[in-house]
């Protein structure tokens, strides 16, 4: 599982739809036709905040992720990058 640089900036791929669910969220990519799941509401908040935050670390902070857990969230975001759910943007 890859991770992402905390200083890099990301956003959801324009073809990705997010549907919040009690357990987290469902993500569907209309380009790849793949489904992914976020098993955590906090992760959903992080993902939703990515495009407005200056970088990934800031998005984690804004979602209330404690500093010791940030690496885990960055790894989770890395997984979403691998499946092309997230795309990098200029920081």
């Amino acid at each position: 599982m890859s991770t992402i640089d905390p200083e890099s900036a990301w956003q959801l791929h324009p073809q990705v739809s997010v549907r919040p669910e009690p357990f987290g969220a469902l993500l569907y990519h209309f380009g790849t036709r793949k489904l992914s799941f976020l098993k955590d509401r906090t992760l959903l908040t992080v993902v939703e905040g990515l495009s407005d935050a200056p970088n990934a670390r800031a998005a984690c902070d804004a979602a209330g992720v404690s500093p010791e857990h940030v690496p885990t969230y960055l790894r989770a975001l890395g997984t979403l990058v691998d499946s092309r759910m997230l795309v990098e943007r200029a920081a």
Binding site: Q15, E21, L26, L35, S36, K39, D40, T72, A76
Partner: protein, 434 residues
């Protein structure tokens, strides 16, 4: 679970602390606020009469949802954030408003994957489809050769399907699907199917033959043998995520390693069916009043049926494994497919008729002779079904002659001529009177 073409590798539970005790599958068993995807059969009309048609399609139902009603359903799916619908039939493209509905859905963020026998996939249509990112096409093909395919799907249907594949490929469409229902005749052709898919840049999708609709009439003859099931399982394991299955073979997971997918029956939990007249069933393979949850024409629309129907609520409760609970493979196969059990007359809390441990076969053999096997609701088969001999028909010989007992053509009740029905007496009669 059917209909969810998501290889396991792509179902990525992205976890973050604190870890949750519940697995995703457990959430799905309790049902979601909206289906992940659903099957929508737009019409029962079809140009073919496939012998195993799971919806017994052929003739259009006069109560079919109108264009406006279909658009209202799409609006609701958009509000519920249903990502995509699997449109089928019948042959959905024979509806004159099909392309209009397709555009309407994709413009409203509801992706469409539609199943077709290819009859309307001309080069022009293919070009249009290739240009729309929100559309996926699935061409049905049940034999890698015309001989095997046309036996099940009817004369020249192989040719139609291959022409459609060629048109899609020429238009630059990639990764569209070739959908195969696995039968006793085509399981030896798995590698050939894969070669056809590769040739057209398509993806192969294998699904299970179910004893639903007309499938019930041919199931005994066409369903794979126990040895073929094993062959299929090994083939699927070897090909992994390259081949889609719509999660339809989760009952085979009892052979060992679980197949890619969710491996659960999603009926009424994460999938359902809307039929051409708006009836909502738990699953596309169970068109029977026992699995009817409501109708989209009802006051609360589709959302109310999905969220509040008594049937779906029941399906989302923990299910009893019944006779299967003691089997060591119950955790992987979950007792198999509800529809397959129902339409072969087996108890719903027992083994699947194709249980790999052979328990289903034992039960099938032990069924009482006079057992009432439930019948599909609403048969829309062409009146010529079961059709003429499947190998094609020769000339029909007709002899024209005059009926001896009729003196003149029958007179219509609408005939206005004052002399209608009058026949002049033969000249010889006058002669006698004189």
């Amino acid at each position: 679970m059917t209909l969810l073409d998501t290889p396991a590798r792509d179902i990525r539970p992205v976890t973050a602390p604190p870890p949750k005790a519940m697995r995703l599958v457990d959430h799905f068993e309790l049902g979601l606020d909206a289906p992940i995807c659903l099957t929508w059969e737009l019409t029962y009309a079809c140009n073919l009469s496939c012998v195993h048609c799971l919806s017994s399609s052929g003739r259009r139902d006069p109560r079919e949802l109108s264009t406006e009603e279909c658009k209202a359903v799409i609006d609701e799916l958009e509000r519920m954030q249903v990502f995509y619908v699997n449109i089928g039939g019948g042959e959905p493209t024979v509806r004159s408003d099909f392309w209009e509905l397709l555009d309407y859905a994709t413009a409203h963020h509801v992706g469409v994957k539609f199943s077709t026998n290819g009859i309307k996939i001309t080069p022009e249509v293919a070009a249009k489809l290739a240009a729309n990112d929100y559309v996926d096409v699935q061409i049905s093909l049940d034999g890698a050769t015309a001989e095997v395919n046309d036996f099940v799907r009817g004369p020249r249907s192989y040719e139609t399907a291959l022409r459609a594949l060629q048109n899609l490929s020429d238009a630059g469409m990639r990764n569209f699907k070739i959908s195969v229902v696995c039968t006793r005749q085509n399981i030896p052709q798995l590698d050939e199917f894969k070669a056809i898919a590769d040739r057209y840049g398509a993806q192969l999708r294998l699904t299970r033959l179910r004893p639903s609709g007309r499938g019930a009439d041919v199931w005994d003859e066409l369903h794979p043998t126990q040895a073929q099931q094993r062959e299929l399982y090994d083939w699927l394991v070897a090909h992994g995520e390259d081949v889609l299955t719509g999660d339809s073979f989760f009952h085979l997971s009892a052979y060992g390693q679980a197949l890619p997918g969710l491996n659960l029956c999603g009926a009424g939990r994460v999938v359902c069916l809307i039929d051409p007249i708006g009836d909502v069933y738990a699953c596309p393979f169970a068109i029977h009043e026992e699995f009817l949850a409501g109708n989209v024409r009802g006051e609360g629309g589709f959302r109310d049926v999905w969220q509040n129907s008594e049937l779906f609520t029941r399906l989302r409760e923990p299910q009893s494994g019944g006779a299967c609970t003691s089997c060591q493979f119950f955790d992987t196969c979950k007792g198999g497919c509800m529809a397959a059990k129902f339409f072969t007359g087996l108890p719903l809390d027992g083994p699947d008729p194709e249980c790999v441990q052979g328990y289903g076969e034992e039960l099938l053999a032990g069924r009482k002779d006079k057992i009432e096997i439930p019948k599909h609701s609403g048969d829309h088969s062409h009146r010529t079904s079961p059709p003429r001999p499947r190998t094609g028909m020769g000339p029909v010989r007709v002899t024209l002659s005059r009926r001896e007992d009729l003196q003149a053509p029958p007179v219509s009740a609408c005939a206005e001529d004052p002399l209608a029905g009058f026949t002049a007496a033969a000249a010889s009669d006058f002669a006698t009177k004189e």
